[in-house]
Amino acid sequence: MAEDGKEESVATDDESDHTAADGTGSLNNTMVEEGSTLLRRMEICVAEAEKRSGKNAVNMQETFTVYLIETRPMDAVVEGRNPAPDALWRRYSEFELLRNYLIVTYPYIVVPPLPEKRAEFVWHKLSADNMDPDFVERRRVGLENFLLRVASHPVLSNDQILYHFLTEEHGWKEVVYETGFQAKADSRLRALSATFRVRNPDKRFMEMKHYSDELQSHTSQLLRARARVADRLYGVYKVHGNYGRVFSEWSAIEKEMGDGLQSAGHHMDAYAASIDDILEEEEHYADQMKEYLFYAEALRAVCRKHELTQFELEMASQDLISKKQQREELATGIVRTFSFKGMTNKLFGQEAPEQREARLKLLEELIAEGEETVKEKTLECEEHVEKAWVDMQRFKEQKDKDLREALINYAVMQISMCKKGIQVWGNAKECFLKM
């Protein structure tokens, strides 16, 4: 998990930088050498959340939440100076816009996900309301995490639009639209079609894609099951609160048993109350899992992009081949494959030599264009494969490290929960002893 908490220090960034250095190799050295990721130069945090209301696009009143992004130059922090941070407010939709821009502009990067738009995997007590303060708080943390991940990415952190997002409150949206990234976005239909029709995708990418499906399925099952367990556990603890009430009433009618019963009742109340904190902590674990649930989709997107570029290359190659064949037919007069022109020629006689010349010339032009296209597509495809492979390796290492940590923390949480349980029941036992 990217570093939690609000303040960042340089040291925590070293790991991601090292992996970047190792992984990138000869590619894009300039980026790495130029500097470090943005995070090294700038301290970033999402400090607060606030409710606002205003008119939306269709001139209707709406309430939404804005988040305060604070930045400070890192050298100031390191030197011990404490300048006031620069700050600006952004709402969730702007984060979405930034991410969409990044996805289109860097299709070979596994782009960090945003926290969920709507609360999912909600268990009983947890609210599904987007305005709920707990949800807003968890979202604030998630947004900060997103920014930290992006700003520490060897490639993404150098993006100018990102920089503007963090530093220029007004006019940022216009700048993003001006990049014209929306036009570059691949249509869903094209992408889907490519998935089905591509013939020779890189095997490694196909494996990665398969893995991304697995990751998504497993994390979502885990999250669903965990939410149900949390729900039930909540029930178990809360019912014990009833003991508290009944013991208290019962103690009133008993002489010798009274004190013991009443104190035991208090411990039962404490036990029932303790589940709230326990489950609150577990939500952080759930959020960590959710991040990788969403990451799976980003990973899959990169694989799909490969399928698309590969498919386009194949289409271009295919087109070139067919054009070359046509030229050959035209030149030699021998029809190898069926074509309407061939048929009509046979039926109605061949065309005049001038027409043939004209057509041949056109074909040559088209072939020349086609060869350019194939060269381009080949380059595009190869570049994408190279860069994407690098980033997927980086992602894998990050994922293994983060999830391992998350699982260990989860175990620690469980142990701490058990310790609390032992304590409460130990106390209750003492009270029962006095009965």
Binding site: N242, Y243, V246, W250, L403, C418, I422, F432
Partner: protein, 399 residues
């Protein structure tokens, strides 16, 4: 009550009482400070009593000379019906018994007979309740193994309590119950259906009349019984609810663990921690299962017993009131009627005595019952608390 202490050569007999689940309530789920398990030898069991119980209980344990166990339920098939026979084994040094050891087979109806005889002879003593005839919900057949086992334990408890009672344990009916090979002939004797009907009619009549003045202490008792009944029923309900929630929690846990195992299948570096967590969740499941079982076997029966006790207490209070009411009725008649005064006077005196006897019996038995209740429930709750501690300890050690 005989003043004999437990003789040494009893050890052999007492070892058999390992089958006695109730004695094991004290030793089964606890361990000593040094972590070694409780020994099951008789003398140390007695020592356990000494360590944990009050003075009064000490007396009982040391001077207990009547040991009864109920086990070995067997299906008995006749042309008319099928029922369960339980083996009742008695060991005693009491002089009233010709032998020191008896073994008979009894069915639930026999227990019912015994209890109603005891209540009849001692209307204001608190006779421990029997397990219910039928279970309200969830019971498909009467001969379900769990049902039989639960009933057997409760029957055992019943005889245990009777055998410890300073008055009831000397009942002639108890002796017959424990010793006669054939009970049916004895069951036909004694006050029959009609006399019981008569008592009920009188009781109704008296309750309609109402009591003149109940002695303060019995009013206090009555109020306590009402409150206690409410509270113990609530505790019982809460406990049932907890078990229900635990069961549902367990169901979800069983689905949860495998999600980690399945995920581990597609990971390399994460294989270990994922499998680790899966294993821990599994362990959690097992322990939760045990916890549920413990609740069902220790706390629920104890609470249930006292729910039934509360009803018994209410009946005892009613009977005491009736006895007083009868006396008052006759007393009034005496005051108004001039004729036949002598005969009436005798009757009235007799009834007055009866009232006094009844009141004293109840008073005596009341504090005995309270202590018994306190002890039983205290131990049941403690056992639960300990089990919960054990649960958390085991789960955390796995993680």
């Amino acid at each position: 009550m005989s003043g004999q202490t437990v003789p040494a050569d009893f050890s052999g007999h007492m070892l058999d009482l390992d089958e006695d689940e109730d004695l094991e309530v004290f030793s089964k789920n606890t361990s000593r400070a040094d972590g070694s398990p409780m020994p099951n030898s008789p003398s140390s069991m007695v020592n356990q009593y000494r360590l944990e119980e009050d003075e009064e209980e000490q007396q009982d344990a040391n001077t207990k000379d009547l040991f009864i166990s109920v086990d070995n339920p067997e299906s008995h098939v006749t042309a008319i019906e099928t029922f369960i026979m339980y083996r009742v084994v008695t060991r005693t040094m009491r002089s009233e018994f010709d032998s020191s050891e008896y073994e008979v087979r009894r069915r639930y109806q026999d227990f019912l007979w015994l209890r109603s005889r005891l209540e009849e002879n001692h209307p204001t003593l608190i006779v421990h309740p029997l397990p219910e005839k039928f279970v309200m919900k969830g019971m498909v057949e009467r001969f379900n193994d769990d049902f039989i086992e639960t009933r057997r334990k409760a029957l055992h408890r019943f005889l245990d309590k009777i055998s410890e009672h300073p008055i009831l344990s000397y009942s002639q009916h108890l002796k017959v119950f424990l010793t006669a090979q054939e009970l049916t002939s004895h069951r036909k004797q004694g006050p029959g259906f009609l006399s019981r009907m008569g008592e009920t009619v009188r009781a109704v009549a008296n309750s309609v009349r109402g009591l003149r003045s109940r002695p303060e202490e019995f009013t206090v008792m009555q109020e306590y019984v009402e409150d206690f009944s409410n509270k113990i029923c609530s505790v019982d309900k809460v406990t049932q609810r907890i078990i229900k929630e635990q069961r549902e929690y367990l169901d979800e846990l069983k689905q949860y663990g495998p999600t980690y195992t399945q995920w581990a299948g597609s990971e390399e570096d994460l294989l270990e921690p994922l499998k680790g967590v899966a294993g821990c969740v599994e362990r959690c499941s097992k322990e939760t299962e045990e916890q549920i079982q413990h609740l069902s076997e220790v706390l629920v029966p104890a609470l249930h017993e006292y729910v039934l006790c509360a009803e018994t207490l209410k009946a005892v209070m009613r009977r005491r009131d009736n006895i007083q009411a009868e006396f008052e009725a006759k007393n009034e008649a005496l005051a108004s009627r001039k004729a036949d005064q002598e005969a009436l006077q005798e009757e009235v005196d007799g009834l007055a005595d009866r009232v006094e006897l009844a009141n004293n019996a109840l008073k005596g038995d009341w504090s005995r019952w309270q202590d018994s209740m306190r002890t039983d429930l205290k131990s049941a709750f403690m056992s639960t608390a300990e089990k919960n501690m054990e649960y958390y300890e085991k789960v955390s050690s796995r993680f």
